[in-house]
């Protein structure tokens, strides 16, 4: 069995954070957090866990490291939260470094282990609470910390300035009008049926996705809008850092910008973690049991367009594809059937990965792990050999991936294991197959 202490990775955020700690300070913060924020759920988990180890087989980290027990869910919980609880926070600063590395980079919070634990222990939740403690101790990997700071300062993940945002949208509208005369990206249209929100990396790096979304909205005749003001970014690294205060601010801004425009509902682009933040975590932090504005994910939206006959394609995608099930919308919202309906509608042949649907393996990018940046890239690559095996076994070249994070994660895996495959958003495929005006 390996030890976390033997695989410490140098990261300025973790190093500088730990340098400022003393055991007394750790104790104070841990106990304040455990008494003030967690309750019966965590306590019952610690007590009810029988250390049976059944959850080990669930975790892609464990499986990909030849069943190294150090990566099993129960071991991760034992070496972090349970130890902090047992010792009432009385640990050395270096131990916090190890715990932070485990919690931020060796768990994707994908909750696959939930299918394996007989007593129903949610290791993903436990690791989120470890992250919360590390955040309060200011021991956070630098890259994701930076991103969270960008959120906190600009209300978007990529430090996109307010005018740059509007500029990007207008630029895409302009470009798209060459291909689709009359196309509009309506800004701040009050009372629209659909408020379309994206993650900040879209205007920053993947502007063509906004272009494609606009093309689809226009072709389907949707009454839609995009907001010009902060709140447009639905992504949320604060959630993964453990900065729940800013997670709350972000989600409030998102909901409120939609409420201000009195739109009927929010349609989110193809992203998994953002959906988790809106549907699972941010809303609860704000005290909403149901969404204050109805929110649906792109997969649900495409499904609607398909069933209503508004999604028109000229032909089917000919090459065989496989489907990546993004945990946050599959295990998080149960969109596995809708996702399949849409992909089968678009593509001739689908070769499934096994296991799939809610038993899928995470891409290993999720839970903010990819956002911890280059120092931890190998953690993701070696931690998900199983995904490479799964992908290779399908024998296909195209992977449908309706999640930004999964995209980044899988592209890395495909490169590292030399699989020669490519990821596609559903939007990419629809755009490719849709009817376009003669040029």
């Amino acid at each position: 069995m390996s030890q976390i202490a033997d695989r410490i990775i140098s990261d300025p955020g973790l190093e500088n954070g730990v340098a400022g700690l003393t055991t007394e300070k750790i104790q104070k913060v841990v106990n304040r957090m455990l008494e003030g924020e967690t309750g019966a759920k965590l306590k019952a988990y610690r007590e009810t866990c029988m250390r049976c180890g059944l959850c080990s087989q669930a975790c892609h980290f464990y499986v990909s490291h030849d069943n190294d027990p150090s990566y099993s869910p129960v071991n991760k919980a034992t070496e972090t939260m349970y130890e902090l609880m047992d010792k009432k926070g009385k640990v050395e600063p270096q131990r916090i470094y190890e715990m932070a590395q485990m919690a931020y980079t060796e768990c994707n919070l994908c909750k696959r282990c939930a299918h394996y634990c007989p007593v129903g222990i949610d290791t993903g939740y436990i690791m989120s609470m470890v992250r919360r403690i590390c955040y309060l101790l200011d021991v956070v990997p630098q890259y994701i910390r930076d991103t969270a700071h960008s959120h906190a300062s600009t209300m978007n993940q990529m430090w996109v300035k307010d005018d740059e945002w509007i500029d990007s949208l207008q630029w895409q509208e302009d470009e798209a009008r060459d291909e689709f005369p009359g196309l509009r990206i309506p800004l701040d249209k009050e009372g629209a049926d659909v408020y379309y929100s994206v993650i900040a990396p879209e205007p920053k790096f993947r502007t063509q996705l906004i272009y494609q979304a606009a093309a689809i909205m226009n072709a389907a005749g949707i009454d839609w809008t995009m907001p010009s003001e902060p709140g447009w970014d639905n992504s949320d690294m604060c959630m993964f850092v453990g900065d729940f205060e800013n997670m709350g601010r972000l989600k409030r801004a998102h909901y409120e910008s939609a409420q201000k425009l009195r739109v009927k509902r929010i349609v989110m682009g193809e992203c998994g973690h953002a959906f988790r933040s809106v549907y699972d975590m941010g809303n609860r932090w704000l005290g909403h049991k149901k969404m204050p504005v109805p929110v649906i994910h792109a997969v649900e939206f495409y499904h609607e367009l398909m069933t209503q006959g508004k999604l028109k394609i000229t032909h089917k995608y000919e090459k065989p594809v496989t489907i990546q099930d993004p945990c946050n919308i599959i295990r998080g919202k149960g969109l596995m059937d809708k996702l399949r309906d849409v992909v089968h509608f678009l593509c001739e042949e689908v070769v499934e990965m096994t296991p799939n649907r809610e038993h899928n393996y995470c891409c290993c990018a999720g839970g903010g792990v990819i956002n911890c940046g280059p120092p931890f890239k190998n953690t993701r690559m070696t931690g998900n050999r199983i995904k490479a095996d799964q992908l290779r076994a399908t024998g296909v070249k195209d992977v449908v991936i309706p999640c930004h994070n999964c995209h980044g994660g899988l592209e890395d895996i495909i490169g590292y294991y030399d699989l020669g495959m490519h990821g596609k958003f559903i939007g990419d495929i629809i755009y490719e197959l849709m009817e376009k005006p003669e040029m």
């Binding site: 069995m1 924020e37 967690t38 309750g39 019966a40 759920k41 306590k43 019952a44 988990y45 007590e47 009810t48 866990c49 029988m50 250390r51 049976c52 180890g53 059944l54 959850c55 080990s56 087989q57 669930a58 464990y62 069943n67 027990p69 150090s70 099993s72 129960v74 071991n75 034992t78 939930a114 299918h115 394996y116 634990c117 007989p118 007593v119 129903g120 222990i121 949610d122 699972d280 609860r284 932090w285 005290g287 049991k289 599959i330 295990r331 998080g332 919202k333 149960g334 596995m336 809610e358 038993h359």
Partner: protein
């Protein structure tokens, strides 16, 4: 010796039952109070149908991913828990006990069957112990508390079998058996064995989340 027997099977038994019942109520009530105070965003999603759906699915051997993945553990778990209840309630000697102390009469298990089930429970405990020693992913997370819990559940069965087969002085073995059972009962609320109290709730919560919010299976 007989006085000791009368004492352990009389007043001490009442004490053990008392600690078990009051202790369990105390643990459940205080846990619920804590949940109400701190876990509102989870309690809000508790759902009876989805909770039951999850509990039922996990009560079927080999129905879940977890049970499928480790057949030996699955068999041991089911044999242990079913055997435990069957012996504790329906063993001939225990049925007499229910009748004389509480005036409840229930059918009793034939002696041979009771004996076989007791051995099966001991075998299951041996499998649990084997896993803790031999499997790296279990060994690494095993602590003293886990061994303690395993030993206190195994003891009443081991002493019971010894007493029944008249290995060693019968009366002494019987006294030890009763003592072990009382110890077990009294410690359930305060050791790892408290999972007997909490598992329904942790399972039901996971089931509610997966059923009601995540629209997915949790098995």
């Amino acid at each position: 010796m007989t006085e000791i027997y009368t004492f352990v099977s009389g007043p001490l038994a009442w004490v053990a039952f008392g600690i078990f019942i009051i202790g369990s109520i105390y643990r459940l009530v205080s846990m619920y109070a804590l949940a109400k105070a701190k876990d509102g965003s989870s309690l809000a999603y508790m759902s009876l149908p989805f909770g039951l759906r999850s509990i039922l699915n996990w009560m079927i051997p080999f129905n879940t991913m977890g049970w499928k993945g480790d057949p030996l553990m699955t068999v041991a778990t089911f044999v242990f828990h079913i055997g435990f209840l069957v012996v504790a309630v329906f063993l001939g000697a225990h049925v007499v006990l229910w009748d004389t102390n509480f005036g409840i009469s229930i059918p009793s298990l034939p002696d041979v069957a009771g004996d076989i089930v007791s051995f099966a429970v001991i075998a299951a405990c041996a499998i649990f112990a084997y896993r803790r020693i031999a499997l790296p992913h279990v060994k690494g997370v095993t602590r003293g508390k886990d061994w303690f819990a395993l030993i206190i559940v195994a003891l009443p069965f081991i002493t019971g079998v010894l007493a029944y087969h008249q290995v060693g002085p019968v009366l002494l073995m019987t006294i030890l058996h009763v003592l072990a059972a009382e110890l077990l009962l009294a410690l359930i609320p305060f050791t790892r064995l408290s999972h007997a109290l909490f598992v329904l709730f942790t399972r039901a919560y996971m089931g509610s989340e997966f059923g009601g919010v995540r629209n997915a299976r949790d098995w």
